[in-house]
Assembly symmetry: C2
Homo-oligomer: 342 residues x 2
Amino acid sequence: MSVFRDQETVDLSIQEVFDLSRRVLIAAGLSVPHAEAAARVITAGERDECASHGLYRLPGCVMTIRSGKMSLDAEPVIEDVSPALVRADARRAYSLLAFERAAPLLVEKAKTVGVAALVINNCYHFSALWPEIEQLTERGVAALAMTLSHSWVAPAGGKKGLLGTNPIAFGWPRPGPHPYVFDFATSAVARGDVSLHDIAGKPIPEGWGVDAEGQSTTSARAALDGAMLTFGGHKGSALSTMIELMAGPLIGDLTSRESMAFDDGDKAAPMHGELILAFDPAIMGGGDPAANAARAEALFAAFADQDARLPSERRYAARARSLARGVHAPKVLYDQILALGL
Amino acid sequence: MSVFRDQETVDLSIQEVFDLSRRVLIAAGLSVPHAEAAARVITAGERDECASHGLYRLPGCVMTIRSGKMSLDAEPVIEDVSPALVRADARRAYSLLAFERAAPLLVEKAKTVGVAALVINNCYHFSALWPEIEQLTERGVAALAMTLSHSWVAPAGGKKGLLGTNPIAFGWPRPGPHPYVFDFATSAVARGDVSLHDIAGKPIPEGWGVDAEGQSTTSARAALDGAMLTFGGHKGSALSTMIELMAGPLIGDLTSRESMAFDDGDKAAPMHGELILAFDPAIMGGGDPAANAARAEALFAAFADQDARLPSERRYAARARSLARGVHAPKVLYDQILALGL
């Protein structure tokens, strides 16, 4: 996040990021399996320089843990519903352990029938979706994930929070170390980005949000108190609504508004569901998998030919840097984490 | 389309639109089942005042038929691949008959295992996706459809056509006559909209396209000769790329660029594949379907509470008008259809 660019930093190795995250989360009360699953995605976020999904998340995790509603140690219950459907009940704990435990069965189903769904219910969610997507593309399937948040986002033509920031992520397995992956909030930006601007005291661009009266604003604080807007006008709003329906009522879980009501001012992470679809290119492709993979590679090559960047290239470059030389966490954030007293 | 607003019109009943479409398509050489499937969606487009998907499509259909590459009478071959996958080989004929023939099996599978996919291969595609989505929501499933077109659209950061206009459509079954449905091109607008501006000699807004040198343009002609842009910046571009992968290499079919190469200047409809996913709310929801449906209805009610319009409301209002009083087709278009001599 550029808002931290000129601030003092603390140098940490990847292992130190993981150890710090794990230690803080266990000290706050998470069971070891939950703490390690969460620490893995926080470390991945910091490593890939996705600042709003890295160490920045730790204080929020501790706030969620202290809200007292989240289970700190529930073992997810995995249900083999049908040849195409796995259900994981996170039992009001973090989503990540449920995902890790259910992912192998999801992939097995996709590789047997072509397309399969993983429904995660009753989960607290704070992480980016791309770490999950990468766990699936590593196993050779394409994957599409979506989840809700709290009703911070106004629909197109409206002016009050109703939809979540509703991220959607997609991955396509590629030869070589890095899959094609995108992961974006259907809000104009992630709520974490608005919060970072608020913390840094910087104005937000037009189009990110409206104030409590529904008027356009450049104050991060006013947008946090009012409503955020979707990306892409009525199309982005429609997509966000689809995610609201598919990762909410379709899978028998809360909408973003219901999740916010459940939170009841605790400012904990949203508690709701998540939908992940996996597709096996060999079965879906109906024939020559090598030819189909080559067809996708030709598409990616044509991006490079016109100097158009693929979505995760910046993240992969950051990953290479971080793996070689460690990360540089903002000192103000690092001190904030230490001040948690954990 | 507002570009026709002040032009002379011809009044037609819904039945006359269907009969005209059917007659022209059969006279051009389509088999009766193909002509009727195509006439049904053209009539639905004209009825719902989606001008660019109504009678406006007829001259293009005739051009595709006369290109000589499309099969005019192939019966689609339906393959029951797995408990979650149906494949329909359209055998280089229009997609619509393949969809109609395979849709019942898709719905049956979704209602058995929760999620199912219909892959249509080797199909010529000219229609909006929402008529297909409505056929699925009528049977009680949620549905997501995507398809490609020709490589008319530059990716974010690029300046040459590579992606298709890549429409995505979603539907959610509701009590009452109308489902929740959206259907949009991931290009800034549908290519038909740029063409209509070109025909009407009107400029296009900034952001719709670039000229052959990759520079922003307000000339519809220059954008048709250059490249269109996606909606929503890099997020829209990522979504379009996902559609390119999922309705192309994933399902063993052509990319938009390969489809354009196959066309080889004929200006026929694109020939490629289509992916349709169907979801059964009862199975996916894992419990109380009535409570989940009510949760979705509460979401829609909250749109109305803040005067935010749902995506298809304008289309449903047009439908009611057209069913009561017929349609008003532009005379210039009507004459163009009669001049086809069919």
